[in-house]
Amino acid sequence: MFKIYIKIAWRSLKKQPFITSLNVFGLAIGMAGAILITLYIYDELNYDTMFADSERIYRVNADIKFGGAEMNMAETAAPMASVLEKDFDQVETVTRIRNWGSLLVSRENSKDDGKEDRSAYVDPNFFAFFGLQFLEGDVQSALENSNALVLTKSTAQKYFKDSEALGKTIRLNNEEVYTVNGVVEDMPKNSLLREHTVFMSMLGFEDSRSTQWGSHNYFTFVKMLPGYSIENFQAPLQSLVSSHMIPSVQRYYPGITEESFLASGNYVRYSTTALEDIHLYSNRHIELSQNGRIENIYILASIGLFLLILASVNFMNLSTAHSLKRAKEVGIRKTLGSKKQSLVSQFLTEAGLISFASLVVALLLAISALPYFNELAGKEIAMPFNSPVFWLLLLMGSVFLGLLSGWYPAFFMSRFKPVKVLKGSGEQSIGGSRVRSALVVTQFAISVFLIVGTLVIYRQLQYIQGKDLGYSKEQVLVLNDVFTLGNQRQAFKERVKKLTSVENATLSSYLPTPSSRSDNSYFEEGITDQEYAVQMQRWFVDHDYASTLDLEVVVGRDFSRDFPTDSLAMIINESALAKMGKTADEVLGKRFSSDLGNEDASFYTVVGVVKNFHFESLRNEIGAWNMVLGDFSNSMVVKLKPRDFSSSIAQIESVWNELVPGQSFDYYFMNESFNDTYQMEQRLGHIFIVFTILSIIIACLGLFGLAAFNAQKRTKEIGVRKVLGASVAQITYKLTLDFLKLVGISVLVALPLGWFAMNRWLQDFSYRIDIPWWILALAAFVAVFISVVTVSFQSIKAAISDPVKSLRTE
C-alpha cells in the first residue's frame, strides 16, 4: 500500500512541476534558514560546556554600591579565593584569573618580536581546574614557579616553529624573562577563554597576595562539591562582607562599621553565576571576554520559527488551492471503498516526499550559505556531519514539518464528498478559501513584522553612528603600546605634533572607546561622611587631551601649562555637576579628594566643566566623570588633518622607527573601534535583513502560486466579463484587489505588533530613536508593493487571455 502511495505521490508531483517546485523551494528556504539559525543557537548555548565539571563551576560576582555609584562586578577581591577554599566545606576548589591585556613577546636573544593581545595571570591550579589538556609539560606543576608561563599550542608554534617550546625562555615587554613550562591546546572557540594565548603564573604577581577586600580585579571561579546546591551557598558567601570585607575597609576608612556602611545606602552583595550561564546571561561591568545575550537568542529563535511557519503555511495554501485537481481522485477512491485514513495517509505521504526533497535542497543551500552566514554572525560554525544527533534532528524535523504542513491539506481533501466532486466537470468551488486567506494574512503579517524590525535596527544604528557624541572620532588615530617608547614618549609626541599632516596629539590610556577605566569616590574638602561621596570615572590625561578630541569646556578652563598648579587640577563633566547637585559656580575652585580619612591625601581643584560626551556605549547614560593630569599612558591619540591618511600614517611611523627601531607600530582608527562597540547590533541587523528577505521571498512564492490558482479558477468569470466589455485594466484591478485586501489586513495586524516589539528592544539603549511614522509606512508600502508586483503578473496574464478560448472549455 505504501508503495502505491509513493508511486501516486511521485507521479502527481511530477504532473505539476510548477506547484511542486514552488513548494519544494519555499520549504527548502525556510528549512535552510532554520538549520543555520539552529546551528548558531546551539553554538551559543554550548559556551563553556566543554570544561571538566562545568556544571559545578560558578563565578563569584560582586554588586557594589558605594558613594552613590552602583557597580556590577564580575570580579572579586584577591583574598576571597583562599578564604573560600579554606573556610567553606562545600567548595571543592577555587581558581583565579586576572586579565593582563596585551604583551610584547620576544624569544631570548632575538629581535623577532610578536604581540599577544590577551594574556592573564592565573593561579597554578588553573588548568587542572578547567580540565585543560597539556601537549607539553605537566598540568599540576607547570605554574609552580613565579616566572613560569603556559602558551597555547598555536602561540608556541608562532614563536618556536616546530621546535619544542617547553623549557625555553621568553621575554615579555622587553623586561621580565619567563620560562615556558607548558603548552596547552588552543582555548576552545566557544569558551570565555577563547582569546587568551599567554598564561603567566600568579605566583609572580605580587598584587595577588594582597589582603585588601576593597578592590575587585580577580575573576574567581569556585567548583562546588558534587551534589551541593548552589542556593545554600548564597548566605555563607554573603557573610564574607561582615567577616572580611568590612574589617579590611576599616583600615582605609577608620570608624566605618557595617551598620554605618549599610545605613548610608551602601552595600556589597556577593553572588554566583554558573559557568555555563556566563556567555548568555552575564552582562557585568568587565567580563573575561565579550558575551552574547539571551535576548538575541530569543529573537533569532523566533525568526527561525517564523521562517518555518511561513514555509509550512505556503505549503498548506498551495496544496489546498490546487486540490481541485485532486478532488476527482478523492471521489473515485471513496466510491471504490477507500477509507478516509488511507486518503489522509496518501496526502501525508506526498507532503513527506516534498518535505524530504526540500530537506535535500535545504542542506545544499545551508552548506553553500554557511561561510557567508559565519561571516555575518562572527562565528566559525561547521556543519556537524559526523554527529548522528544532527542527522536524526534533520530527519525528525523534516518529517515533523511534512506532517505539520500536510495535515491540513490532507484532512481538507479527504473530506471531499464523492457525489459532489464527481458530478459534472468539477468546476465548482472547493471551499477552504477563508482558511487560505487567513494563512496569507499570517504570512504577510510576519513579513511586515520583520520589515519593521529591520528598519528600526538600522535606523537605531544610523542614529548611533550619526549622533553628536561630544567628541571627535573622525580622522583620529590611536597608537598602541606607547609604553615601549619608555621615557621618549614626550619627545615622540612633540615630534608627531610638528608633522604637517597632524593637527594635534595627546598621550592617555583613557579613551571614549573601549580602553582603561577607573572608578573612584570623591569627597569634597571638609567632608568626612562617606554619605556625601561622589562616584566618578577618573581619567589620566595630558594638556592636549580636550583639544585633540574636541571636548568642549563650557565653564572654567582647560588644563594649561601656564598654571603649574594644574598638576592638582581637575576638570569634571556636566553629569558630575548634576550628581553633586550644584551649579558650576559653586563647584569651581572647590577641592576634592578620593582618599577619605587619609592625612596626606592630595586634593584636586576643579578648574573647568566640559560638556557631556559619550565615553561609554550609547546603551548607558553618561555618568559622572573627571580628568586629571597624569602620565600613565599606553596609547597616543593623534588627530590627523583631512588628507591622504596613508601618507600621514607613514610619516608617524617613520618617527616611531627612528626612536624605537624594530618595535612594532600598531594603530587603529577610533571610529572603527567605536563601530566595534555596536558589532552585536550590527550583526543582529545583518542577520535580520537576510532573514527578512528570505521570509518575503517565501511569502511571495506562496502568493504567486495562489494568484495563479485564483486566476485559473476564475477563467470563466474573466471570460464572461470580457465578453460583456470589461477592459484588461479593470480585470487586473479586480483580481489584484482581492489580494491587496488580505495584505492590508496583515499590515494592520503587524504594524502595532512590530512597533511594540521594537520599542521593547530599544529600551536597552539609553539613547534611542523614537520609531518614526515613516518606518511603519515604509514597511506597509514594501509589503503592498511586493504583493502587487507578485499578483499582478498573474492577474494581467489572466486578463489578457482570449475569452473565446476560456469559455469554450465549458
Partner: protein, 220 residues
Amino acid sequence: MLLQLNNIFKWVQQGGQRVFLLKDINLTVEEGEFISIMGPSGSGKSTLLNVIGMLDNFDEGEYSFLDEPVHQLKEKHRANLYKQYIGFVFQAYHLIDELTVYENLEMPLLYKKHSGSERKAMVADMLDRFNIVGKKDLFPTQLSGGQQQLVGVARALISKPKLILADEPTGNLNSAQGEEIMQLFKELNEEGVTIVQVTHSEKNASYGRRIINLLDGRRV
C-alpha cells in the same frame, strides 16, 4: 431480493422552501435484474442511483440492501457494504490519471484484503477478459474514450460485485463505442450480475428488462 426502497424522500432547502429531489420512491430490485432509469434532465435519475449506491443520503424512508437496513447503518458500515457488493461505472469514466490501466484495475482490491499474488491474478484475469492486456501499462489519457470506459467497467467488475450501478455509461462515447459497452452489460447480466443504469437514450434503455421513468423526483 437484492434491495428494496420504501417511501424514499430527499430534499434540499431553497429560499425557505423544500425542493424535492426524490419523492416517495418505492423500488424493489431482485438479483439478476437489468433496470434502466429514464427521465428528463433534473428528474432525479442520478440522485436515485447515488442513493442506491449509498454515496448520497436521503431524508426520509427505508432502504434495505441484502436485508441490512441501510438507513440505520453507520457511515463506516455502509462503506463496507458498498465496497463489497457494488461496482460503479461513470459517464466520465473517472479513472485516476496518475495510474496505469493495470494500477487502476488493482485499486479497488487494495481496499480489501487480498494478497499481492491474488491481486495479480485477478487483474490479469480482467485484462484478459476485456482484451486489454496490451494496454496495461498505458495511462488513461493515452486511451480512446471507449477503451477508457472498458477499463472503467473492468474496474467495477474486478471485486466481483452483486450490483453494478452505471450513470450514463455511454454519454461520452460515440454510437459504436456505446453499442459495445451496452453489449458488454448485456453479457454480464446474462452471467448473473444485477445492473442498474441511468440513460437518456431509448435504445440503451431497451437493453434493460425493466424501465423506470422519473419526473421531478417521482416515479411515473
